[in-house]
Amino acid sequence: MNEMKTIGLLLLSLAVIILSLAACNSNNVSGSDQTNGTSNASNGSSGADAGEETPPSGGKKTIVFSAFWPDEQYERAAKAYEAEHPGVTIQFQYGLSRPFGEEGSGEQNDADIEKFTTSTNTAMLSGKGPDLIDLRYLAADDYERHHLLEDLKAKMDGDKTFRNTDYFDNVLSGGLSESGIYRLPLSFSLSGMAGDKAAIAATGVTFDDRTWTWDEFMKTGRELVEARGKYDSAIVSGEGLQVGGSDYFVRSVVADNYSRFVDETNRKASFDSPAFIELLKQIKSMYDDGIVGKQGRGYFANITITSPEDYLITLNTFGKDTAFYVKPHAGEETAGASFQTRDEFGINANSNVKDEAWSFLKFLMDHTTIGLPVNKARFAEAVRALKDKGMFTPPSLGSTPSAPFKVNETQLDKLEGFAESASRKKNESGKILDIVYANSNALFAGQKSAENVADLIQNKAMTVLNE
């Protein structure tokens, strides 16, 4: 009797365990179903629409391509590439689960980004992961530090068909670090200022925006305000027509002066130095004196140009006599426009198809026109196409239809010059910058002294650097 009971118990608990395991398992199965049958379930891309799904078969090589944002240009380029290279299939994985712009997709995007980063991190750390990755939203610096990415500098130098002169070279080498280049962009955006040319001319203040430093900009701003012209402030804190808090300006200035205060190689920060305290005081006085406005409009507004069309639309929005001005730079930096890369592609160091991935990446750089393309020929093409149109109708915002306007060819001609001169990669993200701006609010509200704030920032920055 007793033995029967034991056996019964044994069977019962076995059944429970098996059941629970089976439950886990079936979850997994349905999970991988949603990933559109991509082979790498751990990569968990709930692909919006994965392109080619041919499983790797004898002799055929598969490049797994991963990006958060889907783009039909990727897929078009992939089709063309596959036609040219019959031995290669390209498999897509996207982070976005629902088409952008759908109802409630904003929150969904955040959740997707989180899922995308965690699943890609795990896959990369365990030596799997996609072969070619768009590093947007991912911890590219950390990947680089842990040798998870292939050095593309070696690939660029070793490839005779790759000519640096075909591209905006400054933008390409924007990702240059001590040991090489680990990421290459397909497209970039320019950040600068839209200035009311007529109003500035009316004040009689002169300056050269191609070479100005932050110091000169502050001086110019003071002159503009003192001239008592059309506007009360020289520049408004914020981006475009959107007025932001005080942090926007601090971020830009400190980001541009970053290397003066943070020595990443020796892990030292010097935010408690008189130079930084002076800089904080200088920024504060610009708010206090109304040079940087907190509302309305100023002579300048910060803008970001994401494409040739966007360039025209932005300048048009700010009025007839608006021009693009280069952003000031820190004293010891080279002058020139500052840029941001949009997408940045890296090749997985553990990929089996590195050469194919490089060849496809090169193909993408030559055959896509997204935003401001890094390829000069594509860039010129996009500009020419706009000129040929003559009139341009911006996409309407909401229900208000937008009025078409004439394409301004002289303005467009300047755009390439700005892109050509783009020399400074704007990097406004990072823990230390977050710390700087989170702790400087009390200074600009007049609640703490610059010394006090500088000390706090220094302490926390050192914690980050010493980790």
């Binding site: 365990s126 030596g127 609640q447 926390k460 050192m462 010493n466 980790e467």
Partner: protein
């Protein structure tokens, strides 16, 4: 007659093993195996497949000023908050062990913090202690200078208060149970023989409560390591210097994908906890043997 060298365990043994199995599987899968994998990781370098680097990661870790600061802060926090917590919960337990007006209501109210989700409470604390928060508004209203509670050495005391508020009820319950298990006769005999209040507390209460106190001490120390959740919610991943604890370090290492430093730090922490726990348990055993 019995020629079998190996006999399957019978009866209770099998049943016990079977009943333990699910929790054992759970414990292994979610704690033990990951920890052992982490232990292995902590001795390898960051590359894939992992080359063995001996104690290299531990050396790196100890060279990191932030890690030393985090460890120091954790020790300081435990050293301040645990004695305070135990003293307060003991006092409360003794008070609530007597007939008292609204006693059961009071008991319940001290246990409430255990049940309330931390995240909801932290928001209130945050609003209260923020630079532009309620407390500073009061101070300002009364004509005092405001204090940056979360960005000065005050921050540690706030977390200590929060820790005590959260844990005092739990410790109090344990001590109450301990107090009630002390036979009343001891006290009666003692007072008949003329022992004063202090004497009774010192020689009866404390002595018979010691086993419970050991347990409470242990649990409180372990809870003090877990105060990270409150601190993180209150002050974020890079709080004021004094608040930067071991788990901040580990959390930040996790987000930097620095598995090596993360696992090395976790292993060191586990080692410290194990040493501490076994020391306490041994002291408790010795105490018990002495009293018996």
């Amino acid at each position: 007659m019995n020629s079998l060298h190996f006999r399957p365990p019978r009866g209770d043994g099998v049943a016990a093993a079977l009943f333990l199995l699910p929790s054992l599987i759970g414990f292994s899968v979610f704690y033990l195996i990951p920890f052992l994998l982490g232990l292995y990781e902590s001795f390898t370098d960051g590359s894939l497949g992992g080359e063995f680097v001996g104690i290299g990661n531990y050396a790196d870790l100890l060279h990191s000023a932030s890690f030393r600061k985090a460890a120091g802060n954790t020790v300081i926090f435990t050293a301040i908050s645990v004695p305070l917590l135990i003293a307060m919960s003991l006092a409360l337990a003794i008070v609530l062990n007597r007939p008292l007006f609204l006693r059961s209501w009071l008991r319940t109210s001290f246990i409430l913090p255990l049940v309330v989700p931390v995240a909801s409470v932290v928001t209130v604390w945050q609003i209260f202690f923020d630079w532009n928060g309620t407390l500073n508004a009061w101070l300002h209203g009364m004509g005092h200078n405001r204090i940056d509670w979360m960005q000065s050495n005050w921050s540690m005391s706030i977390v200590v208060v929060m820790y005590i508020w959260k844990n005092v009820g739990y410790d109090m319950i344990l001590l109450l149970a301990g107090l009630q298990s002390i036979p009343k006769d001891y006290y009666e005999t003692a007072s008949l023989e003329g022992a004063g209040r202090w004497h009774r507390f010192r020689h009866i209460t404390l002595v018979y409560l010691t086993p419970t106190l050991f347990f409470v001490l242990l649990i409180s120390i372990i809870h003090s390591f877990k105060v990270f959740r409150e601190t993180y919610l209150l002050a974020g991943d890079y709080p004021y210097d004094r608040l930067y604890m071991l788990q901040h370090y580990m959390n930040n290492m996790f987000f930097e994908l620095d598995v090596q430093k993360l696992t090395a730090a976790a292993t060191l922490m586990v080692a410290c906890i194990v040493v501490l726990t076994s020391g306490l348990l041994r002291a408790e055993r010795r105490f018990r043997e002495n009293t018996e």
